[in-house]
Every structure is written in structure tokens, then in C-alpha cells.
Point group: C2
Chain length 452, copies 2
């Protein structure tokens, strides 16, 4: 690991319309460009100018239940968009999301290794287990895989990726024109993986990529998710309801990594933050008010809420109390367990109606995430506080509106953090691992040594 | 369909090292750049300057049995490389290959629709059923899916793609800021597909792409392959052993399309050609001699041959006769049936040794493909002859060496074809369907009509 000052890792959670559910209605959003690659290139280059470590795209392989969210995150499959953005940027990392429950690990390993080669070492992958029966029904299943099984499957998936990515030794490609030997004997090995969910012979048919092992990100917050991350993840997207809760997760992840013989510095904890930033606090508050004023409440919200609670709400009205007696026990619930417990607790403790509970989902930050409102200095102060008090190695920045969100952050917050030495003035490495400061087990890339 | 003069469709079958198995050893090849995106951008732009309709990448989701072929086609997964090339070109089409036997159709539909959006209407997909147990063993199966079952699965796969791609109506995205309606009611519909192999609820979570339905290519030459193509394909990569054989396939595909109520002009037949082109015939022949002189014979060739024959040849030597009595009957053979029959016939009729038969696989053109050697005018003459005599609507051009192959073709052949009015002087359309002259069932793209 290179000696360098520890800095805050900034990661851009890309959305073409913005993460606030009504951002697309704001006159400054670019909803009409949400299908235009050139627009995403502009967003990516703004983040790159701000010294961000990566662009990340969240993903669910199903259409959102709320039709107003149809263009949420990006309307593209993330790997394809990020491959195109890799060709249009030079330093910033790229992290697509892949569902371990509904993807094939050989194909996933190939696509991510290819991204790493195409971007010259800037690729990662966010592994999620997905949630909801709607996803299952797009992939020839009637119901989502059960929680325990899908984490067991996710663990195997991560293992297969790691084995395939290292199935070519760093010096495997000999390309000796004179002797006619392309591959060094023994340089490429099968993996012969025999799991409960996957049996994969290998080797990969993509050469070793520059990072050796592209960066693996995880986001699950349940005990199973934390265990998986402590074992396999280089970075974790965490929740950020409060600094105390997040410090608990931060500590659990670092301790879990240590317990598995890993350097705790080798796992980066990145809480989600929704920054409403402007030149002044007053303007930032005005921005919040303006976006909120466009919030749409429609019947689909109860559908979304029903999915998150694991109960059919089609016979209910927004003014009805949350039917707590119908909710499944957490151990029987098959969606995102963490979100479920939080919603149930809110509803029970505050006696909320369905409409009120749905409103919490459509608020100024997604459920479980921290809305941070203020001037550049105010926002920088709060990020620094979390960074210096054991709650964050950096942040997963969910801009409420696009393109204004990332532009305002780069204009107002980044200069303050740079002045404090907390964000580098320019990139000091060419790979995503380098940006994150995560040691490489294997430092060599598949270098082609052929005579020219 | 627009009125225009019928022209020859040129399609670039991309390989970073060249399609001849020993091309990588030639001093003019760029083997050391085979992992460098900038090099592929250069190849793509050369083809675009030559007015090619598309770049196509063949693919098998397993490492080649012959280690000297490890970088064959491209060392990248095709969708990722072509997404990056889409961002680096403006007009040429992009056609990755997807295995219908080992891929998920929802993910495939998303990735190809995304490519179509990112490229503004230039995407297609080549659907293959794959061959060989090595592929199966990378995807949690011990054996490859049987011939009949994999074509039945391929048909369902193609049906699911088409339904998902049209699950958003062309005017589905309303993006009405004032009234807060993102999606037009009824504009996005589930597909509720219930097949034997796939059950897919839909709708797609990617909006309708510019072409409505990206171009579907097929390459199977067995009766099942031709039937599938006649039903679902917009273009077919055909073999080219002789003009008579290819005219037979051409006629069968056009007749099959007609029988299914399709315009025979709506399916384009593109035989594979391996052009060895230079300023003069003498130089072209010299190029062939030079590449051939570097041909490597090694034990892996018998492994490859064994896979293609469905028999384990590990106890045999190159000088042994082909053990015809061990070969399976064609109806029991589970690889590429067409290639199998051809090899078996050669071996039986000519009494070949294993080494001789393996040599046919490593010749100047891949098995079943036409090596065309000569000056620009000579090559143009032959292509024109096939085009005007019912054997081809265009060609799948497999350059023997890179980057020289495509450069020589664009320098020597394209000007002759342009002078004869057989290749357009410049692109007259922006989409791949437009380049190919294939009518669109749905002409509208998902236009975003939101107020700016």
C-alpha cells in the first residue's frame, strides 16, 4: 500500500433525473435528455473534474412499481452505460450493479473483467441480492429466492468471480511470435468450482485485468449482508440514518474484516448521503422546498409500500392505519429485511397511516439515507465530522437533482474539502483500487510482452 | 421501406489479431495491443470510413481449446467492448453475440436495448446456441443442451426479446412536468410470457429504443437454424464453401421468410468471406504465403478436432487415420452439426489422417468459409458476382490479419465497389436498420416529449 494522506472517498451514485422522486419535474432537471449518452458523459466528466473515485449505478432488474420512477437511477442497463462512459473518461472508476440472484457468474466475471481492461483498471462491481417477486417473475421464477439461500448464493457468486478473475497468472500472455507460443504453459488454470448453486470449470476467457481483481462492493445491511461484505467486499455502501448507527456498522465491518485476517483499511465504508448544496444555506433550503413542492402522491405509492412490507395493500386507502397485524415476521420476510424492520418500527411506534408511511419513502432522501442541506462549507463540515469520527471512509453521494446536484457539489463542497487536504487536488493513480487506497493482492496486470 | 438502389452490405467481423490462426505471429499484426481499447477504436473507425454497415463480434463463453487462439475474435466480452466502441463512433452498427443456451433473456434484452439507445439506433444482436461441453461446464451444467432443445430454447429467447423490446409503446414516455405524469397510462405493458424454458412477466425496464427492435442476426446452418432464422432473423451469417451451396441457403432463407408472411427483402444473407487483399494479386498471394508459413501445429489441435467430432482423441497421434467408427451419428452429435458432417465427409471420402483433418481447420479460412485472394478489383469482381447471382445481400468480412486486413479492404476494394455504385459514398441513414435497408415494423423511437 502506498504511503499517502488519508482522504475522503467521493463516489457519484449516478441518476439521470436525480434521486429525489420528483426531481424530474423541476425545471432545471434534464428529463428530456435521460436517454442521451452525451448527457451522461457530461455528468461523468463533472464528477471526474471533482476528483471523485467512482461513478456507481444502482440497479433492479425490473421496472419500478411507481411509473414516475421509470427513469430512476438510469434507464440503461448499468454495464452498457458504464462501458460507454469508460470510453469517454480517463480516471474516474466505474461500478455497475449486478444481481447475484438472477445473473450468471461466468458472464458477470467476463463483463467486469472486460470493463477493467477497457478502462485500464477502473472497474468495480456492486453485488446485490435484489428484492421482490417482480424481479423473480422477470427471470423464470414465481417468487424471490429466500433470504438465507440468496446470501449463500451471493457468497458462491463472489467466490466464483474472484477465482475466475485470477485464473490467468499476471504473466500468462507470452505472445512469443518467434516460437509461436501465445500463452505461457501453466499460465491459465481451470478453477473447477463445485458449489451448491454454481459449478464453474473455467478458466475465464478474458485475460487478467489491470487490477487483478476489480473492486467488489456490497450493500446489504442485515447480519448476512455484513458477514458477506466482511469476507468479500472492498467497499460497502452503508445507510446513514444517524452517525451512531453508521458508526456501529462501520465498526462491525472493520471488525469482521479483521476477524477474517484482513487489514481493516482494506474495506471502505461509504454511507449514502443526499446533499442539497448551494452557495448559501438559504438557497439550499429553497432548493429543497422547491423540489418537495412538486412531489406527486399517487396510488402506486401504496403498491411500493406493500412490496416493501410484504403485504398486499390493494384494498387500502392512504388514510388507513398501517395493518401491523398482517405484516410478516422479519425472519419470514423475503425482501430487504433492513428496510422492512425500519418501516414496521416507524409505523408501530408513531401509529402512522399508510399515506404517512409512504410519505417517508418519498421524502427528501430515500429511506435510511441522510439528507444534508447547506452551503459548501456546512456540508463539508458534516462530511468531515463523519470521516474523522469513525463513521465513514467516504460517501456514496446521491444527488437529489441532475445535473445541478453534482455541479453544485463540485462547485461548492469539493473546493472546501480540497483546501482542507481531504480531497486530492488531482488523481494520483490510474486505477480504482489506487483511488480508494486499497492494497492489491496481485499487483501485476496481464501485460502483453510480445515483440512488436 | 425507402426507395434506394440496392447496395452490398459490408460487415466487419472484428478480431484484434486477425482471423487466421497464425496472424498474431505476423510482424504487421498488433498482438501487443490486443487488450487496448484505443486500438479497437482505430479498427472501428477504419471500417466506418469504408462505409461498413456494422461491426460484429463472434463469441463463445469458454476459453478456446487451442491456447494460441486465446485472444481470437476479441479478448473482451462483446457487449462491453461494443458499448465502448459505440461511444467512439457515430454511424457504424454494432452487433455482439449472445448465447441463447447460457444467457438470461431479460438481461440480454436490457443490454441490447441499452446499446441501441446509447448508439442512437445502431445495435443488433447475433443469437447463437453455442457448442461444446466446455461451455456447459462454465455455466453449471455437465453437458451441452441437446440440439433440438437448444433450438427450442433459442426460439423462446428470440420471442422474449421481441416482446420485451416492444413492451413500451413508442410514445410511452410522457414526462409531463406540469401534471406530474412520467409514463403515459397504458404505454408500458407486461408481456406475461409463459414458455417451456422461460417465464418472463416484463415489461422491460429500459424504454423503447430508437430502432424499436434492434437487428437480430442468426448463423445456424442446420434445418433448425434455418427455420429459426426465417422466422426471427433480420440477417444471417452464412457459410460460403461454394456459390452453389450458398445460393441454396440464400434461397431457403428467402423462401422460408416468405412462407412465414415476411418480405424476403427483410432478411439479409451475409456469407462469410476471408479476403486476402493487396494492391496486386501477386502481393496478395505473398501475404497468404507469409501468414501460412507461421502456422503452428501443436497438440491442442487434436483437442479442438476431437471437440468438433464429439470424440476424445487424447490417445491418438496426428499421423493416425481418423477413427470413423468412433464418431457419433449426426442425429446424436451435440455440437455444431453442420461442421461435424463436413469434417466427417472429408475424412471418409479422402481417407485423411487426424493431422490432415486438423490442418483443414487451420487453413487460410475457417472451415466452411471462402478465402478470396487478389487485388481490389479482383476481390470486388467476385463479391459483385455473388451479390448479383442470388448468393449474397452482402458479406460478413473476416479479415485474416489485423489491422492490415480491414485497412487493405477499405483502401483497395471499397473504392472499386463505390465506383460501381455498389457501396454508398457515405452513410445515408443513422440506424443499423437504415444501413441494411430493412423495414421497421415500428418506426417510432421512445421520444421524450417533456417540456424542457
Amino acid at each position: 500500500m502506498t504511503e499517502r494522506r488519508r482522504t475522503i472517498s467521493l463516489n457519484f451514485n449516478l441518476s439521470g433525473v436525480g434521486h429525489h422522486t420528483s426531481a424530474w419535474r423541476h425545471p432545471d432537471s434534464r428529463t428530456e435528455r435521460a436517454l442521451d449518452l452525451d448527457y451522461y458523459v457530461q455528468l461523468a466528466r463533472t464528477a471526474e473534474a471533482g476528483g471523485f473515485d467512482s461513478i456507481f449505478i444502482a440497479d433492479t432488474p425490473a421496472l419500478r412499481a411507481d411509473p414516475n420512477d421509470a427513469l430512476a437511477n438510469t434507464p440503461f442497463e448499468p454495464i452498457t452505460l458504464l462501458a460507454a462512459l469508460a470510453a469517454s473518461t480517463t480516471r474516474i472508476g466505474i461500478i455497475p450493479t449486478i444481481s447475484t440472484s438472477y445473473s450468471d457468474p461466468y458472464t458477470a466475471a467476463r463483463q467486469i473483467a472486460s470493463l477493467d481492461l477497457l478502462s485500464k483498471g477502473r472497474a468495480g462491481v456492486n453485488l446485490v441480492t435484489s428484492a421482490g417477486d417482480a424481479v423473480a417473475r422477470n427471470h423464470s421464477r414465481s417468487h424471490h429466492i429466500q433470504h438465507a439461500a440468496r446470501y449463500a448464493r451471493a457468497r458462491e457468486f463472489a467466490e466464483v468471480l474472484e477465482l475466475l478473475w485470477t485464473s490467468w497468472s499476471p504473466d500468462a500472455v507470452l505472445a512469443d511470435r518467434e516460437d509461436g507460443v501465445m500463452i505461457r504453459p501453466g499460465g491459465v488454470r481451470p478453477i473447477d468450482y463445485e458449489g451448491e448453486f454454481f459449478q464453474v470449470a473455467g478458466p475465464l476467457n478474458v485475460p487478467r485485468s489491470p487490477q487483478g481483481r476489480p473492486v467488489v462492493v456490497q450493500a446489504g445491511a442485515s447480519p448476512a449482508g455484513i458477514a458477506l461484505a466482511a469476507e468479500h467486499a472492498d467497499a460497502v455502501y452503508a445507510r446513514s440514518m444517524s452517525i451512531d448507527e453508521t458508526r456501529g456498522v462501520y465498526g462491525a465491518l472493520k471488525a469482521g474484516a479483521s476477524a477474517r485476517g484482513r487489514d481493516p483499511e482494506s474495506i471502505k465504508v461509504l454511507p449514502g448521503v443526499v446533499p442539497y448544496v448551494a452557495a448559501t444555506e438559504k438557497e439550499a433550503r429553497e432548493l429543497v422546498r422547491e423540489i418537495e413542492s412538486r412531489l406527486v402522491h399517487n396510488p402506486a405509492e401504496l403498491r411500493v409500500l406493500g412490496t416493501m412490507l410484504g403485504v398486499d395493500l390493494s384494498g387500502y386507502e392512504p388514510q388507513d392505519k398501517v395493518p401491523l397485524h398482517l405484516l410478516p415476521a422479519p425472519e419470514e420476510f423475503n425482501g430487504s429485511v433492513t428496510g422492512f424492520v425500519e418501516l414496521r418500527t416507524m409505523a408501530a411506534e408513531e401509529g402512522l397511516t399508510l399515506g404517512e408511511l409512504a410519505g417517508r419513502l418519498g421524502g427528501i432522501a430515500p429511506l435510511g439515507m441522510w439528507a444534508l442541506i447547506g452551503s459548501g462549507t456546512q456540508v463539508a463540515d458534516r462530511l468531515q465530522h463523519w470521516f474523522e469520527n469513525g463513521a465513514a471512509d467516504g460517501f456514496n453521494l446521491m444527488m437529489p437533482i441532475a445535473p445541478g446536484g453534482v455541479e453544485a457539489f463540485v462547485e461548492h463542497v469539493v473546493p472546501v474539502l480540497r483546501e482542507r487536504g481531504l480531497v486530492r487536488e488531482e488523481y494520483t493513480s490510474t486505477t480504482l483500487r489506487g483511488h480508494l487506497g486499497i492494497p492489491l493482492e496481485e499487483r501485476e496486470s496481464a501485460r502483453l510482452e510480445g515483440t512488436p
